[in-house]
Every structure is written in structure tokens, then in C-alpha cells.
Amino acid sequence: MNARFRIGDRVDVATRHQAGHVRTPNYVKGKTGRIVDVRGAFRNPELLAQGEPGLPRQYLYRVEFDWHSLWHDGPSSCPDRIIVDIYEHWLMTAAGME
């Protein structure tokens, strides 16, 4: 199994709402970010929390978001970034334009 995304790829975060032990925070759902780090494949914590073996494993990425793109207020020149740990099954290739 190979990681689907590489460093530099632009990705969209899924918008689905899911009950239980979800590790993707609401504030990045539906947002577009960039992959800055590809970590290993880990057991899926959403399934582990239900007492399952957590398989298939999911690649874990560090995904960077421009602060301004998350909150749409404040100065657009703001250089700040939020970097969020996200598992692969929450990510897809970015659809829209930058």
C-alpha cells in the first residue's frame, strides 16, 4: 500500500459528519490545504475506538492551511498557518482553483 498523496499536493478535506471518535476537527472540513509531511500508515483510530483492529491502516499526513483561508477575516497578508494531522481517508485531491 502506497501513500496516495505527496508533499506539495493540494487536498480538500471531506465535509462528512461522523459520530464517534473522529480525529478530523470541524474547522478544516471542506477546506483546502497542502500536504507538508507524509507519515507512516497507522491503524485507523476511528475503528480502534470501536474495539476493532483499525484496519486497513491509514496514511497520516500533516496538512497546512493558510490561516486566512480557514477563517476569512483579518488581513489576507497574514502569514500564519495551521498545520493539522489528517488521515488519508479524510482527504481528496483538491477540486477547485487556488
Binding site: R23, P25, F42, L60, R62, I82, I83, V84, D85
Partner: protein, 222 residues
């Protein structure tokens, strides 16, 4: 029992709150009577069912408290300031750096991010309170507060200012939301005026605030 490495859940509220009480003075619900009763009930059940003995529980608590204050984290940072090879290893492969000191987090991977003149890093776990307890000990109680967790991703500059950390506009703040199988530590900038200091002396300038990134390392007192 490996509970110290697990996610500590304090509710999944990543909603925005505007609480103007300084974050360091925010109280976490650790002493809420309901939580105390719940804690006691769970302990008793675990004991009755023979899952964990009181002695094992005590051992775990002592092991964690013994590391409180981030002793190993301080050592790592002071060593990175004085040993360029170790600094490189710490930043490129935190796991390997931990292993070289006989340490590990028992599951999660260790990631170290470096503060520079242009980049300031700060760590949070917005969904719970993930923290590299295995090397930094227990987090400060404000780290687990809803106020810190929700506000630092929403208004990082305001939150840092409340800790007395005012950054020039051109400095890029990177907030790392540690939610999964990674645990983070900030490598702060070495304070000026510490040329020639030993690693032991330098370690005394590093507190958990600096390793989380809400404050720089302490300045030397002349």
C-alpha cells in the same frame, strides 16, 4: 496500562469561544465533583474486575509525575543548542533522537519543530489534549482548557500576546494541531547572552511553555 499515551478526551467541542479571561487562569474541570465521582467509580470498577491493581495505578501516576516539568524535553533542547549533530537528528527524525536517549512514546511518533527569526511554532490539540507525556510529563492545566484549544487556532497572535509573546507581523506563526499519532515539541531559539553555557545550565532556561511554544525560552539572569 499505557493510558498516558492515549488521547485524553475532554469533549469534542472545537467550537469557538470568546472567553476573555487570560488562558493561564482558566480552570479545567479536574475538580468538578461529578468528574471526581466518575473517576472514583472507574477506578473501583477497574480494581474489582482485576484489570488494574491499585499498586499498578500508583506506579503509573508516579512515573508520569516523576517526569513532570519536562526534564527530558529540557535536556533534548539544551543538547540541540550545543550539539549541531543532535539538533539535525532531532529535527529530521524525532523518533531516532528519542531512541538515541533511550526514550520513546510507545506508539505515537515524535515531531520537533524549530523556532527561528522568521517562524514561530505553537502546539495544540483542539480535539482533546494530546501531548508527548512520555518525554515532557503532564501538560500545564491551561493546555487542556477549551479556551486555549479553541482560540489558539482561531486567533493565535492574540493568544500568544496573552502569554506575553508579541511577534512582529512578518513572523509566520505555525500552529500545529496534534490530533492523531504524532506528538510535537517546539525547539525554541537559544536565548542571547548564553554563549559558552553548558547544556546543564541551558536546560534550566527551558520550561514547558517554551516547549509548547507559547513563550520563548527564559532569558539568562545576570
Amino acid at each position: 496500562m499505557s493510558g498516558d499515551q492515549e488521547h485524553e478526551t475532554h469533549g469534542h467541542g472545537d467550537n469557538q469561544r470568546h472567553d476573555h479571561q487570560p488562558i493561564e487562569h482558566v480552570h479545567t474541570p479536574d475538580h468538578d465533583p461529578e468528574i471526581v465521582i466518575l473517576d472514583q467509580a472507574i477506578r473501583e470498577l477497574l480494581e474489582e474486575k482485576g484489570i488494574v491493581s491499585p499498586a499498578e495505578m500508583q506506579q503509573c501516576i508516579e512515573a508520569l509525575e516523576g517526569r513532570n516539568g519536562g526534564i527530558r524535553g529540557k535536556e533534548m533542547i539544551a543538547r540541540a543548542w550545543t550539539d549541531p549533530g543532535f539538533r539535525e537528528l532531532l529535527l529530521s527524525d524525532g523518533q531516532a533522537a528519542l531512541a538515541s536517549m533511550g526514550l520513546g512514546l510507545g506508539g505515537p511518533e515524535f515531531v520537533v519543530v524549530e523556532n527561528t527569526q522568521d517562524v514561530h511554532n505553537v502546539i495544540v490539540c483542539t480535539l482533546c489534549s494530546c501531548y508527548p507525556r512520555g518525554v515532557l510529563g503532564l501538560p500545564p492545566s491551561w493546555y487542556k482548557s477549551a479556551a486555549y484549544r479553541s482560540r489558539v487556532v482561531r486567533e493565535p497572535r492574540v493568544v500568544l500576546k496573552e502569554f506575553g509573546t508579541v511577534l512582529p507581523d512578518h513572523v509566520e506563526i505555525r500552529v500545529h494541531d496534534s490530533l492523531a499519532d504524532l506528538r510535537y515539541m517546539v525547539l525554541p531559539m537559544r536565548p542571547v547572552g548564553t554563549e559558552g553555557w553548558s547544556a546543564e545550565m541551558l536546560a534550566e532556561l527551558v520550561g514547558s511553555d517554551a516547549m509548547i511554544g507559547v513563550r520563548p525560552a527564559d532569558c539568562p539572569v545576570r
